[in-house]
């Protein structure tokens, strides 16, 4: 690596895009991702709006591009711990967590079969369980298993090790660091769902039949905990009345002082999930404004033509859950001013996006606003992109990341 290499922090859609666009210009790129797989948030989505197409379709092309391009070096389970120097001449330290599974892994699944201990699956936001030795997801890239050694007994770890015919389980694996010299840093650390435990009036994450929009994605995804069936958590039945609560945390000075851009479109998309999966289900979306900018207007028109969908300008003041699993929503209709209580089988909170690094220290020296978004620092050699900078949808993240690749190349070109 040299002064004209580029470090991309974050292997979600923005990071992958920035990395590839720079690599295909001939620049060396180090793509650092903290999860054991690439794809970030979009890997967890069932479909994209407005085309209702699977994110893995575009990711497959991206992964093919990575396979075909030796300029991209992918590091998973890795975090950038130190960045020193200045534009054109950064020294970067990357810390790589032990995966306990080495490059010999063939994804034969023997370790998963040998493992007994299960833990809540983070990829499914805790709605399903996974073994301690596991494939991060069916579409995982790189294709390699991971092992949560600390979460099982030594005896079980030994058994798991013995189950691998290929010597791919390495119980002695340790955290290690690598250092690189790079000329520019693209910060593509993306977003995380807002913590629902802070939304006291909406159940604070304690009501079983009140889920987040990201959990809804997992419930409806074919590789999710229910194999794509929409079943409410309390009793695994198909919900007949579903409500979406928009701006759960967003547009609220006490929580997220901005609009999260995607939630209106995401909920409209999820309305189609419900209507497709549960015949006759009735759906209500409670919103402040329906934000469907530009060509998304068409999608709004298409979805709102559904007679089983009610779009209500209203504020949900409170959610409670009864013993039967019914969720009671206290709703004030903004147009009529009428406050009443409505019953639903399942409520989806359109929780917003918070910068992944909000409230955390980051290795790069780059200014952030009070919400944790990077606010840009020209000539610093640090280029923030995608949802690390402002809330965006996937299409605009891809745009932003392509532009970021150019800015990174500007920084390193000729060095």
């Amino acid at each position: 690596m040299s002064g004209n290499a580029i470090l991309v922090v974050g292997g979600g859609f923005s990071g992958i895009t920035a990395a590839l666009e720079a690599a295909e210009m001939g620049y060396e790129v180090i793509l650092v991702e903290k999860n054991p797989y690439l794809g970030g948030r979009v890997a967890q989505l069932n479909q994209y709006f407005p085309k209702l197409c699977p994110p893995s379709c575009g990711l497959e092309i991206q992964f093919q591009r990575i396979r075909n391009n030796p300029n991209v070096k992918v590091l998973t389970m890795a975090q950038v711990t130190k960045v020193s120097g200045q534009a054109g001449n950064f020294d970067v330290t990357v810390s790589i967590k032990p995966r306990y599974v080495n490059e010999k892994c063939t994804c034969c699944n023997a370790c998963t079969e040998a493992a007994e201990t299960t833990v809540p699956c983070e990829f499914d936001f805790g709605m399903g369980m996974r073994k301690v030795a596991y494939r991060p997801n069916i579409f995982a890239f790189p294709q390699r298993y991971a092992f949560d050694k600390a979460k099982c007994s030594e005896a079980e770890a030994k058994k798991i090790e013995a189950s691998c015919k290929y010597g791919a389980i390495n119980l002695a694996d340790q955290e290690r660091t690598q250092t690189f010299k790079v000329g520019a840093v693209v910060q593509a650390t993306g977003w995380k769902p807002y913590d629902v435990s802070k939304l006291e009036n909406l159940g604070a994450g304690k009501l079983t039949n009140v889920i987040t929009n990201m959990q809804m994605e997992r419930l409806c995804a074919p590789n999710g905990p229910t194999g794509g069936l929409l079943l409410r958590p309390s009793d695994k039945t198909a919900p007949k009345r579903v409500a979406f609560v928009q701006c759960a945390g967003s547009r609220d000075e006490n929580h997220l002082n901005f609009c999260s851009y995607i939630c209106c479109m995401a909920s409209l998309k999820q309305v189609t999930y419900v209507r497709e999966r549960v015949p006759g289900a009735e759906v209500t979306v409670f919103y402040i404004d329906l934000r469907t900018p530009g060509r998304y207007q068409k999608f709004l028109e298409k979805v709102s033509a559904d007679p089983k969908l009610s779009l209500v300008k209203g504020k949900v003041a409170e959610l409670t859950q009864e013993g039967s699993g019914k969720v009671l929503a206290t709703v004030e209709n903004v147009e009529t001013g009428i406050k009443n209580v409505e019953e639903f089988d399942l409520v989806v909170l359109a929780t917003g996006m918070q910068p992944s690094v909000a409230g955390e220290a980051v290795a790069v020296n780059a200014p952030r606003d009070e919400e944790g978004f990077f606010i840009g620092s020209p000539d610093s050699g640090v280029i923030a992109t995608g949802c690390a900078k402002v809330p965006l949808d996937v299409m605009r993240s891809a745009q932003s990341a392509t532009g970021a690749a150019l800015k990174a190349i500007q920084t390193v070109a000729g060095r």
Partner: protein, 764 residues
């Protein structure tokens, strides 16, 4: 053509236990020993020992190709690389053999006892070998290319794009039709905020940007100039400019922006009839030039109402002649020229502006109203501004600007349904509305009413790029996006059907300046990548870096024009005789031309009609269905259906043992001859697995799966004529995440075939 192929059969991941690896080797040896000096079974091919064995054989036996019968090419790709002199074929015995095999599944009663898995593995291995025999390493010709980037449009986006391309050392020609640079932004008093803290409008910074561009020695600025004609291909474009100037161009950034929507669509809200109803475009100009005054008497308005809920102007209320006039034309089919007839000089262009542009501009309408409401108060602290909206369309970070406006005591915001806009006394305007914060049904009397200006892309009104392409002057598919030169891909927003031309800014989508400047950089980078790919003779997205290219054997060409018509990217022109003229740097290497050609004129070095045909011939068809089972050929899109099959296998979902899967670059590359060969060989059915088509297509080559489906209809007709059930050939749309569904699709098709009985051609 590979001459020394090493064949390796892996015993890992359950293969060794379930399959007789030596039998696979023997099967290959019996038929292809002369071409395969090395044929061996290896316990674990991806192990360091396995890889070392291959490397040693390459060195010792002088192999020029390796055929690795192991796992999917999507796995272990990083291990199995041998440099660019060695061709590599990955025969997928793991996912498509042992992991998707269930000996109980679908096997016919009498046919049980046959080792179907062994047959599957033997045949796939043979297919891999013949594929290599029919494959060459492509060696593209590298033309002398021009690297200059032409930026069309000298507005905000174009200026940013010019700057960006020049900053990477590329020469830029910036073409602007007006006499001066700056475009629409030159008329902006201010822009809504572009950076943190996103609370206050500010100057655009246009002058500084113009200076940067005009003082940059890499950029030559041509004002008062338009592009009359663009011919050639990326790296080799000839641009004919107004005034007769001709330039060599490498690639193009299209940044011609927008024009204000026709005000006739605002007539239902009083525009045109009531003097003091104006548009935001008009107000912006006024604010830029000085005080805000109302047109009727030149007085400063004390109350200004911005009506951004334009539901009154929706289709229903528009004069019938305006509404849908274009849609009719859009639907008129463009007839392909009859044989022998000259192709029309240019495809008809239809103006695509409609009242829908108001709704599509909603985000800008909201932001501009907020900005201009602030102008009203700024210019006259006594004045009041009202904004009436249905949905305040300020997604994302601009919520903060909206919040700031809410804190401005001079600005009043409310939801409202506008019922009517009428002239009042003394030049005032009376707006009746319902459902507001102020009451159920109210009337507002304003000194001035401001209606939104929609952003209509320049490409809605004319082709702009004026391509001298056989398929027409303009971008295809403009109708999908009301004239915006946009991509239909979410993941790849710069990819359109015209390689080498990358749209940015408001010509692509309505957008503000912050996004437009990033977009300009993105498009500039794509243009540069395209030039550099052309310069290396390789493909751009989605097969970026692919060195293969279509080769035409013109001797057999009958000038039928199918390839030139069907290429999704307009890569082929006609010469005066009607013979296709390839433009490799426009080509995306999907093979749609190859699939279209009835004379088998078109081939790639490493992908061709003969290759797939020969692979199909390696399928062993039992003489009797009831004794050996039926056979179905699956041609699967390698980008989506193939990974879906892989993942089905990984999830332990088996499918019928009587199918053989051959991946194709895109269903668009499927030539009817493959299907005909398969049927005449006695194969009982052919299943085409490709991407979704239609407006929300998922095909990475836009039209491939749709074109294949059309060809399938023709094949069905031919089968009928031959007395073969047309249902034996079918196409299913499979998304990459339908891994749990695709095995049952296959099995249902197989059940149908079994019910139908053997292909009547079997045994002939």
């Amino acid at each position: 053509m590979a001459e020394k192929i090493g064949v390796y059969v892996c015993g890992g991941c359950g293969l060794g236990e379930a399959v007789d690896l030596d039998a696979v080797c023997t099967a290959v040896k019996n038929k292809y020993q002369p071409q395969c000096p090395v044929i061996k079974a290896v316990p674990v091919l991806c192990s360091s020992e396995g890889k070392a064995a291959i490397d040693a054989d390459i060195a010792e036996a002088g192999l020029d190709a390796v055929c690795l019968c192991a796992c999917s090419p999507r796995a272990k790709w990083d291990v199995f690389t041998f440099g660019d002199k060695i061709q590599v074929e990955r025969v997928n015995l793991r996912e498509q053999g042992v992991w998707s095999f269930n000996k109980e599944l679908g096997a016919l009663e009498k046919a049980k006892g046959i080792d179907d898995l062994q047959l599957i593995c033997n045949e796939y291995a043979m297919m891999g070998v013949v594929k290599m025999i029919k494959s060459n390493i492509p060696n593209p010709e590298v033309p002398e290319t021009c690297k200059t980037i032409m930026v069309l449009g000298g507005g905000w986006t174009g200026l940013n794009a010019a700057n960006a391309a020049a900053s990477l050392g590329y020469d830029v020609v910036l073409v602007e039709q007006a006499a001066a640079l700056g475009g629409k932004v030159a008329n902006f008093y201010k822009t809504f905020p572009l950076s943190y803290p996103y609370t206050e409008a500010h100057e655009t910074g246009l002058d500084k940007l113009i200076t940067q561009v005009t003082t940059n020695s890499k950029v030559s600025v041509l004002t008062g100039t338009t592009l009359e004609k663009l011919s050639g291909a990326p790296g080799l474009y000839k641009a004919e400019l107004s005034g007769g100037q001709n330039l060599d161009i490498g690639a193009v950034v299209l940044a011609t922006g927008w024009v204000p929507g026709d005000t006739k669509y605002l007539a239902p809200m009083g525009y045109g009839e009531i003097k003091n109803v104006i548009t935001t475009a008009e107000l912006e100009k006024m604010a830029k030039d000085g005080p805000i005054v109302r047109p009727s008497d030149g007085k400063a308005p004390k109350s200004v109402a911005f009506l951004i809920n334009t539901a009154l102007c929706s289709v229903d209320s528009c004069p019938a002649d305006v509404a849908l006039e274009c849609e009719k034309e859009e639907q008129a089919p463009v007839n392909p020229p009859a044989e022998g007839e000259e192709a029309p000089a240019e495809a008809p262009f239809c103006d695509l502006e409609s009242q829908r542009h108001l709704a599509l501009s909603s985000e800008l309408s909201s932001l501009v109203a907020l900005k201009q409401a602030n102008y009203v108060v700024e210019k006259d602290p006594e004045a009041a501004a009202y904004i009436f909206y249905d949905h305040m369309m300020v997604p994302g970070i601009n919520e903060r600007y909206y919040k700031a406006a809410q804190d401005n005591p001079g600005v009043m915001l409310s939801k409202a349904q506008i019922k009517s806009v009428k002239a009042g006394a003394n030049g005032s305007v009376v707006v009746s509305m319902t459902d507001t914060l102020l009451g159920e049904a109210i009337e507002i009397v304003a000194d001035l009413v401001v209606l939104p200006t929609s952003l209509v892309p320049t490409t809605a009104h004319s082709p702009v790029v004026n391509l001298e392409y056989r398929q027409g002057l303009a971008f295809p598919d403009l109708g999908l996006f009301e004239g915006y030169a946009d991509s239909n891909y979410i993941c790849f927003p710069y990819e359109t059907r015209r390689t080498g031309i990358y749209a940015a800014g408001a010509v692509r989508q309505p957008m503000g300046l912050a996004l437009a400047s990033e977009d300009a950089m993105g498009a500039a980078l794509k243009a540069i990548q395209c030039v550099s790919s052309a310069n290396r003779g390789v493909a751009v997205h989605p097969r970026s870096g692919d060195r293969s290219f279509p080769v035409f054997n013109f001797v057999r060409c009958t000038q039928c024009k199918r390839c030139t018509e069907e290429c999704p990217f307009g890569a082929l022109d006609d010469d005066p005789k009607g013979t296709p003229m390839p433009n490799p740097s426009r080509c995306r290497r999907c093979g749609t031309c190859m699939g279209a050609c009835p004379e088998r004129v078109i081939s790639f070095d490493n992908y061709n009609i003969d290759m797939i045909g020969t692979m199909i011939r390696e399928m062993q068809v039992p003489a009797k269905i009831e004794q050996g089972g039926p056979r179905v050929l699956i041609l699967a899109c390698e980008n989506d259906a193939y990974p879906a099959l892989d993942m089905a296998a990984m999830r332990g979902k088996p499918w019928s043992p009587y199918v053989r899967v051959i991946p194709v670059r895109c269903l668009g590359s499927v030539n009817a001859i493959w299907v005909a060969d398969a049927m005449s060989k006695g194969i009982d059915g052919v299943l085409l697995l490709g991407c979704k088509y239609g407006d929300d297509y998922q095909c990475h080559f836009v039209k491939g799966s749709e074109l294949c489906n059309r060809r399938k209809e023709n094949i069905s007709e031919s089968l009928k004529r031959l007395g073969v059930e047309p249902e034996r050939v079918d196409q299913f749309q499979v998304a990459i995440d339908e891994y749990d569904v695709v095995p049952s699709m296959i099995d249902k098709f197989m059940d149908m075939i079994v019910k139908m009985g053997p292909n009547p051609f079997k045994g002939y």
